[in-house]
Symmetry: C2
Subunit: 364 residues, 2 copies
């Protein structure tokens, strides 16, 4: 059983698998990748029990078969290969990998130790891969990083007739991305954030086909298939808390705002939530911070509107930066009050919405 394949494609497939398959595990079978050869296709697959991934490569093959190999070792070897293509020749106990003047023999692992993986053949729904990527990556930052209510460590994906929406929240802030694109499915699911990260890396062009069942969501996109375990639990009814009335609204270039808040926050006090103060007044946003080393101030001209003449609030700088960074062009921030959430939206890309709460200050 012999197969000839492009080094670069094989290296890319293995790099994806190495992010899923652990390099060490108390269950050694998890560290292996399954290698399957059929006619003109080489497939590599692996799992970390939360996420199953399969990468498909077109290959010039003679024979059929299935084997297991240590994933990270194989990845290291393939990345170092000297020539543009590589020959894999599978024997009974080892695979010979030849590329240019380099020759290596890797011992085959016991394939029976690898958890069996199955990917659906039919997918009921679909979205453009780029749309699904934008949905998930725009809101990913708002999910909780650490131990917290389990659902907050996931990304909620709402798929309904006429729209699709991704939502991330850690309980203190929330972001959603809403699109009229329809997947053809009708379901609300919560995806583990780490699995969303991997999916975001793999989604590129073409179509992402989607299937739900057995407590998991399966996605097929060009070159890859993936199963991710769905998270259980109830996501809070966030629509209820999105403010509808605003006292002051401002529009500013997103990038300039991120840079200014970033600079001023260098002087903020890390032990006091990296507090920065915002004052919007007479068409100017003034950002200030005070900390152990001194203070900083920067003023940006903004387009101001709303019933009130001015507003002054305090925020964790990180929350503003995270909420504005996914946006290009102009960003609109709408302030409902000093103790109620503010809403961040793109002026052009209105599908994105983030909600951040001001810090309570002594003045409140």
């Amino acid at each position: 059983m012999k197969v000839h394949v492009a080094t670069k494609s094989l290296a890319a497939a293995l790099a994806s698998l190495e992010r899923v398959v652990p390099s060490r595990s108390s269950n050694p079978g998890l560290t292996f990748v399954h290698v399957t050869l059929t006619e003109d296709r080489l497939t590599l697959s692996g799992t970390n029990m939360e996420l199953d991934l399969e990468a498909q490569l077109t290959a010039d093959a003679a024979g059929e078969g299935a084997w297991a190999l240590p994933g990270h070792v194989l990845g290291q070897v393939v990345r170092a290969l000297p020539a543009d293509s590589v020959d894999l020749e599978f024997g009974d106990t080892e695979v010979r990998i030849s590329s240019g003047s380099f020759d290596t023999k890797l011992q085959l692992a016991d394939a029976s130790q690898v958890p069996p993986l199955s990917f659906p053949n039919e997918y009921e729904g679909a979205l453009p891969a780029a749309v699904l990527a934008r949905l998930l990556t725009s809101v990913r930052y708002a999910a909780a990083a650490n131990d917290y209510q389990a659902v907050f460590r996931g990304i909620r994906l709402e798929m309904h007739d006429g729209h699709t929406r991704a939502v991330g929240s850690d309980g203190f802030r929330l972001a959603y991305y809403h699109t009229p694109e329809t997947s053809g499915l009708d379901a609300d699911v919560i995806l583990p954030a780490r699995a969303v990260d991997e999916l975001g890396r793999l989604l590129d062009s073409g179509e992402a086909r989607i299937s739900l069942g057995n407590g998991q969501m399966s996605i097929a996109c060009p070159g890859y298939r993936m199963n991710m375990k769905l998270m259980e639990g109830t996501f809070p009814d966030y629509n209820r808390v999105i403010p509808r009335d605003f006292r002051v609204e401002m529009v500013a270039p997103a990038q300039a705002l991120v840079e200014a808040v970033g600079r001023v926050s260098l002087l903020s006090d890390a032990s006091a939530n990296n507090r920065v103060d915002l004052l919007i007044e007479e068409g100017n946003l003034t950002i200030t911070a005070e900390g152990a080393y001194g203070g900083a101030q920067e003023t940006l001209p903004v387009r101001q509107s709303g019933p009130d003449e001015q507003i002054s609030l305090a925020y964790n700088a990180r929350y503003i930066l995270d909420a504005v960074k996914p946006l290009d062009g102009d960003v609109a921030i709408r302030f409902s009050g000093t103790q109620t959430p503010s809403v961040v939206q793109g002026e052009a890309e209105t599908g994105y919405m983030a909600m951040i709460g001001p810090l309570r200050t002594v003045a409140d």
Copy 2:
């Protein structure tokens, strides 16, 4: 007291100082940088007690004075500044830093807490900065990283009439770089490896002036002055152990050799010194390794000479890679025997020499 300076130059100077000045210390004075203003020059200096560094900037100044500021905070602020130039205005308790729309006030630190630094005004010796950089950076890798005999954590610099030589060794391997350039000094000193790393980064073009005294070596190069504490101890007489008779010699392209050894070593056994085996025979170098996952082999054509028809030896792959990497073009490796050191030299750049010992194998 006000000074106008280019943001980029100030950021570069602070980046150098931040690598020396600690960000935290039980002695807070060490975390400060001294800022001194005279006519048309701004100087910044700091120390970690092993290494003193001063950076000089041309500046558009009004007034004179000396202050202290927290080094890492100042560096962060300056790197984030929005405009190409920055104004520093020193008051009694704070410095105002303005650049474009950004304004910050940093509290001045207590300058009396900063250890006083002095740099020589006269330098007795000199070398071209690029030559001193090449000397030190070529042999740096061979110094011991961890606790070992203290002198092995330093780089020996031999400065004599008619030649200058840098030597690094960890007791298991050795590298020297020898040049006929003369510094004008006559001394053997041992420089701390970490200080050598910093000096290597600062040396660029122009002249490196050198002065010795008070147990330290001082270097002045364009834009910077530096004092480094010399290490005490006796460096072993390495000349005695450099072999003079060789059984087999080979010449190969350095880069191809590094790549091939790197690839093969991926399959070597990390618990057995990353052993790779070299066989030089009939104008070919065959590199092999065996480890827990299998084995690898690669053959390179080489120019072979020497009295013996072939030689077969084992090495720690890391030692070969480190010894060959400083070289461009062709590398010559001369093998004196399976239990005595081998010598690595550049074919073009003959000033560089490395000595590495083969691994003892069961066959020995």
